[in-house]
Amino acid sequence: MDEHRLSRRRLLTAGAAITAVPVAAAASALGGADVPFKEGQANAPAAVDNLTGWTWFTDVEAAFITAAVARLIPADDLGPGAVEAGVPTFIDRQLAGPYGSGARWYMQGPWSPGLPTQGYQTRLTPAAMYRAAIKAIDAAVVRESRGSSFARLAAADQDAFLRRMEKGDVALAGTDAKGFFAQLLQNTLEGFWSDPIYGGNRDLVGWKLIGFPGARYDNSSFVSQHGEKYPLPPVGIKGRVEWIRS
């Protein structure tokens, strides 16, 4: 059977079932390659390799990221924090991919800082922004005689420095401290709560913390059970923790 005919049949019958239209019309209906459907090509996401070392970060950058995200979502008596969830690996893999290079974003000039209501206006891609900002942060720590790098500061001093970045109350060479902090926090939340195939939320710790049941697609038996605790454990795209732990 030729590929297009097979493809068309799959298109027409996959899911939305036809009841009223005669099937005989199908064979000649579509104009050859007009519908580029191929069977067996589900556009499923690829899981990252989260076992090997850094893909984008240098060791110095990785030390910063590990220290910073540990303060943004710390490990404590409620459970694992961002480091234990694999957030540094998540951010590393994101920066190495299309997100890091701003592949989907309009990145043509001319460039102007613009107003806050005009959003992202830096010419730096996310990956380039991390590279520039981490260098500038460590330089600022040295300049202010606080220590040799952010990663080597005491936790309380790290918190204080992050709070200054959040307010834009620290000068970073070539980098907008407030903008970078917002980006770092956003990526940290993403790594803590996204599906574990992207390298973060390891063992679904982010979802367990709040009670989110994950990539389930059928809650219909539970929608009307008001006020009751959801009975099922969280599940990721690749399954439950015990199935996917490596």
Binding site: L11, V21, A42, Y106, L115, S194, G211, N219, V223
Partner: protein, 586 residues
């Protein structure tokens, strides 16, 4: 040189909701129809199967179903004194891409506008006097009435299998429905969705206050449904990945789940994907379109002639293509003359968070249009005397699903990170909910669309420039709605609430709604509108322009129901009148 192709009877530029509706109607009338879609083919089993559709990072945060700004975007500014800069990264609104358009990742909130919405200018002038509509507020009547559109609304609701409860059947008010809606010829095709706990709590409190809560009309199926074309949709599973996501379960009406299985089989229909129309070409009189120029995925340019051209892309691209093709007079905000780009509007939203100690709310259970609402303060359902604004919106609890990267309900005063944040989110996630308001935006002289003088797309064409801000009318209206929402929230007896009013200028960063409207508005006068009541261009008689670009201002409801009803009304005028005697229909 563009390669010239054989002519077709009718061509749709774009293949989302309106492209699919028009292609279905025009092929039924016997025309040979070609659709050109700049995005790729997209179907449920391949692009968003249930085995991986519930992926918050990929689809929402990394924009997998949305338009790529690298390809083209808009430049944005709040007023003409600012320099517009490109929206480099999507935020406030999320236009779709690929077959099905934004109708793939919509929520499915499927409304009819109020009868008074269609006569907003004359109605408000009559009830409140000239002072209610200042000179700078450029609202207009639509040139079409609710009664004109009723059968077409009905048609779309049948196509989709909308779940809901009628509030007005042929003039008789129905308990449990929205008593403010216009009269319906018949009940919704499907009963309301099952309600989770948060909308139920809202409805109980609202009812206790003497209000009239009703289930949100929903394109998420409350039960399996076979539509009039013979296409079957499945019952919604309340997975909570609907808004900003595609449905893997054939439970949300979209072009893919309602029309395409039939349309794609027709011998007189062709679809070419990854073919982007760059211009509509006119004849020497400028009154007739002869062809479109498009570029395929390899970069090769083609000229495709057609007798009838239907512009079915997203509103912002509709307006841009008209400006780039020299169709109609561009709007000038200084003089108020011209029509293309005029009366751009949007939506204004706000919310109130509620936090409980004693109620497990399971906010992750949801669907795109799974809510209980009140309409007491929408449109002109209430007396605006002395309030300082016109228009309104609906409010209530719509439980779309609390995806965890996006949803961080924490009380006032909680830090944004650190141990305090972690503790607050762990304590509140399952025991909080949000009451939202969804308000109208009137049209104003200074809010408009034109071509940017500086920034270009991948083909070197000017980007569309959006000049937009909320005015006092919108802020007063939205604050009023938010205060009403807060009253109901308090009556729901939570431990505490947090009120999130929409303050200041429109900001492109946070997601708000993909309800952009206007710029090629409909009306009765070619001097003040771009298309007539049948969505036919006043300037080019064989060009029809679909979509919310036709809205003269944006009422307080989601737009898709009206976009589709206008498309069906246009299709009826084309097939019943235009094809017999091509020329202007009004």
């Amino acid at each position: 040189m563009a390669k010239k192709l054989p002519s077709v009877d009718a061509l749709t530029i774009g293949f989302g909701w309106t492209g699919a509706i028009m292609a279905q109607e025009l092929t039924d009338a016997g025309l040979n129809v070609l659709s050109l879609e700049r995005g790729a083919w997209a179907d449920t089993s391949r692009e968003f199967a249930t085995t991986f559709a519930q992926d918050e990072l990929r689809y929402f945060w990394r924009h997998d179903l949305f338009q790529t700004t690298a390809h083209d975007t808009q430049t944005i500014r709040n007023d003409a004194s600012q320099t517009a800069l490109p929206m480099r990264k999507l935020g406030s609104y999320l236009p779709g891409t690929n077959v099905g358009g934004a109708g793939v990742h919509w929520n499915g909130q499927t409304w009819r506008f109020l009868p008074s919405d269609f006569v907003a200018r004359s109605h408000n002038l009559q009830r409140y006097g000239a002072a209610a509509v200042p000179d700078t507020m450029t609202i207009q009547d639509w040139g079409v009435t609710y009664d004109d559109l009723e059968p077409h609304y009905d048609r779309f609701e049948r196509l989709c299998g909308i779940s809901g409860k009628a509030g007005n059947l042929q003039g008789q008010i129905q308990p449990g429905g929205n008593p403010f809606e216009g009269p319906r010829s018949r009940e919704y095709p499907n009963p309301p969705m099952a309600m989770s706990y948060p909308p139920t709590l809202f409805a109980e409190a609202a009812k206790g206050m003497g209000l009239h809560p009703f289930p949100q009309p929903s394109a998420n199926m409350s039960q399996a449904y076979t539509n009039p074309l013979g296409v079957r949709l499945e019952a919604c599973t309340y997975c909570g990945f609907c808004e900003k996501f595609a449905c893997g379960n054939y439970s949300k009406a979209s072009a893919q789940t309602t029309i395409l299985p039939v349309l794609m089989k027709k011998p007189n229909f062709k679809l070419r994907t990854e073919c982007e129309v760059t211009k509509i070409n006119l004849d020497s009189t400028g009154k007739r379109a002869v062809s479109v120029t498009y570029v395929d995925a390899s970069g090769e340019e083609f000229e495709q002639p057609a007798d009838l051209i239907v512009l079915c892309s997203y509103i912002l691209n509709n307006v841009r293509l008209m400006l780039l093709s020299g169709i109609g007079a561009p709007y000038d905000p200084q003089t108020g003359q011209g029509v293309i780009g005029k009366n751009y509007a949007y939506q204004i939203t706000s919310s109130v968070n509620l936090f409980y100690d004693d109620k497990i709310l399971n906010p992750f259970i949801g669907a795109g249009a799974h809510g209980m609402l009140v309409d007491e303060w929408n449109g002109d359902n209430f007396d605006h005397t002395g309030l300082g604004f016109i228009g309104g919106g609906f409010l209530g609890v719509v439980q779309t699903g609390a995806r965890p990267i996006e949803t961080h309900p924490v009380p006032e005063g909680t830090p944004n990170w650190g141990a305090g944040f972690k503790k607050a989110i762990a304590a509140n996630y399952l025991k909080s909910m949000s009451l939202s308001t969804h308000g109208a935006v009137m049209s104003h002289r200074g809010n408009y669309l034109d071509l940017d003088p500086t920034y270009r797309d991948v083909y070197g064409r000017p980007l569309l420039r959006m000049t937009f801000d909320y005015t006092d009318n919108e802020h007063r209206m939205s604050d009023y709605l938010t205060d009403r929402a807060a009253d109901i929230a308090r009556a729901m007896k939570p431990r505490e609430i947090k009120i999130n009013k929409r303050k200041g200028s429109w900001d492109v960063v946070p997601y708000q709604t993909t309800h952009n409207t206007g710029g090629a508005i409909m009306g009765t006068d070619p001097q003040t509108s771009a298309v007539n009541r049948y969505l036919q261009s006043w300037d080019v008689s064989n060009l029809f322009v679909m979509g919310s670009s036709a809205f003269p201002q944006n009422p307080g409801y989601n737009p898709t129901g009206t976009v589709a009803a206008l498309a069906y009304a246009s299709a009826a005028a084309i097939t019943q009148r235009y094809l017999k005697n091509p020329g202007w229909l009004a």
